[in-house]
Amino acid sequence: MNKTFEVIDHTADVGIIAYGADIEELFSNAALALFSLITELESIENIFHLDLEVSSQDMDSLLIEWLNELIYLVDVKHILFNRFDIKSLTHNGLQATCYGEDFDAMKHTIKVGIKAATYHMLKLDKSDDGFKAQVILDI
């Protein structure tokens, strides 16, 4: 599996399609896709890490909750990440370690402000090649 993610258009907003050989990789790539929209991924250094725990009622909403948790951290704590180790993932919860640094106006260009991950046109599928998810983000 070579593809990690791609960005798709939506009239008022923007969407991502993330891929993964397994579900953990899918969640990690969805987060990467999110941060690729916000800034240049290469401009983020792994200065510190943060352990996150997210819970939800099923896999679809877990993906939305995961992205919304990261959006919250960007908006309130101004942290940018570009590496995600998913430690455990079940149908209703995940634990991850996220690597990144504080936003620095001299170093990072913010391309767009993402305000929420939505359920609109949400798709999470498993095929022979692995997993694929589509999420529309509100900006």
């Binding site: 960005v7 009239t11 008022a12 767009v112």
Partner: protein, 485 residues
Amino acid sequence: MARWQGQLTKIDDYRWEIPQNYKTGMRVPGLIYANKEMLESMREEQTLEQVANVAFLPGIVGHSFAMPDIHWGYGFPIGGVAAMDVKDGVISPGGVGYDINCGVRLLRTSLSEAEVRPRINELINALFRNVPSGLGSEGKIKVSQKEMNQLMVEGARWAVKRGLGSEEDLNVTEEGGCLSGADPGKISDKAVKRGMPQAGTLGSGNHFLEVQVVKEIFDPHIASIMGIDKVGQILVLIHTGSRGFGHQVCTDHLRVMEGAVSKYGIRLPDRQLACAPVKSPEGQDYLAAMACAANYAWVNRQCIAHWTRESFSKVFGKSTEALGMKQIYDVAHNIAKIEEHIIDERKLKVCVHRKGATRAFPADHKDTPTCYKEIGQPVLVPGDMGRCSFVAVGTGRAMAETFGSTCHGAGRMLSRGAARRSVKGQDVLQELESRGITIKTGNFPSLAEEASQAYKDVTDVIDVVHHAGISRKVAMAIPMGVIKG
């Protein structure tokens, strides 16, 4: 994207119906306000399918409405109106949108184009310094947790009490700038943390502050009651909402609604339509939280209006009174309200969802401000930054037909990506400047996303609501200087 193939019945040149039998499960028909050309472009997306989907929601009465500026949203279309019977109907956060009480405020001045044009750069620079804008912008008012709890309950009055504006402003703000029933106990810690630093900021995306010139007056009598007296007069339009706070409130409560859908056995054609009965604890909690976010947005526009007046005062060396800087009106265009309407000759209490739609109450309505009782509630319809904006008023026909609702703006046509690919931010800037429009922004790519080509022409939108009789157009203004968030 597949073209929408559904059937539409023509009622007249501006009204089209999606019959109730289009899909099994629709409780009412859909009603679309549009001209023939607009319908063709609406068919290019799944917008009209969303109008039909909204008709599935329990308790919906009348029609599932689509205004002419409709475009594809999450679950509910943007430009959609739906009223649910409070007794057995639902409330849906998707029917309000993420940016709760996104709206517009219009100020007038006694300045003329000739006085402002030579100093527009100075004025726009002063406004840009004085009004915090852009991605992650933080306010110059510092709000403590305790103050945050107060402002969520008090709305615009919270700012007026601190000297940011006057009682007169509140009289010409929808709901007096304060939606009742706000309960900070229904707001998550996360939402508070997102809201505190962003209070009193314009934000980014399609939000703006615009210095405008009146170009045409269609109804001089109504215009004069609003204090719009002559072509060439300067107005200021402010467009913003509840920032990250409203988004977090929506996200938090959508999650609760997800559970409510199965708890109350509600059958939905789209997960993003998640809802709960208005009378249920989940529905009441959302209404109480939504009111907090609506009030936050009114504080936001109140603060920005004050700093706008300050900036004018500084640049022109006169008091705001001497500059005649009164507020014309402030309207919400993403909100749900409990209102009384007459349906089939009987009074009914309904929860009116207006998502990308504006309230348009007629003359003599109890909620139309005293100073506008004779003419109807002002309706403010901003266009894109290269074209124009309109001022209109609500009508009796809107009250009878659309639960007193009308359009809210131009409506997006091109995705942000497509807009960026077709035009560069720098080119947009140059083109606008060549037409005498000064732009200031911290974010050039976003300028391309907001280019005129990305939007429907607001003139077509206003003509439809005017001819359909759900609003009456009063005046048109064009931009002279714009601050883009």
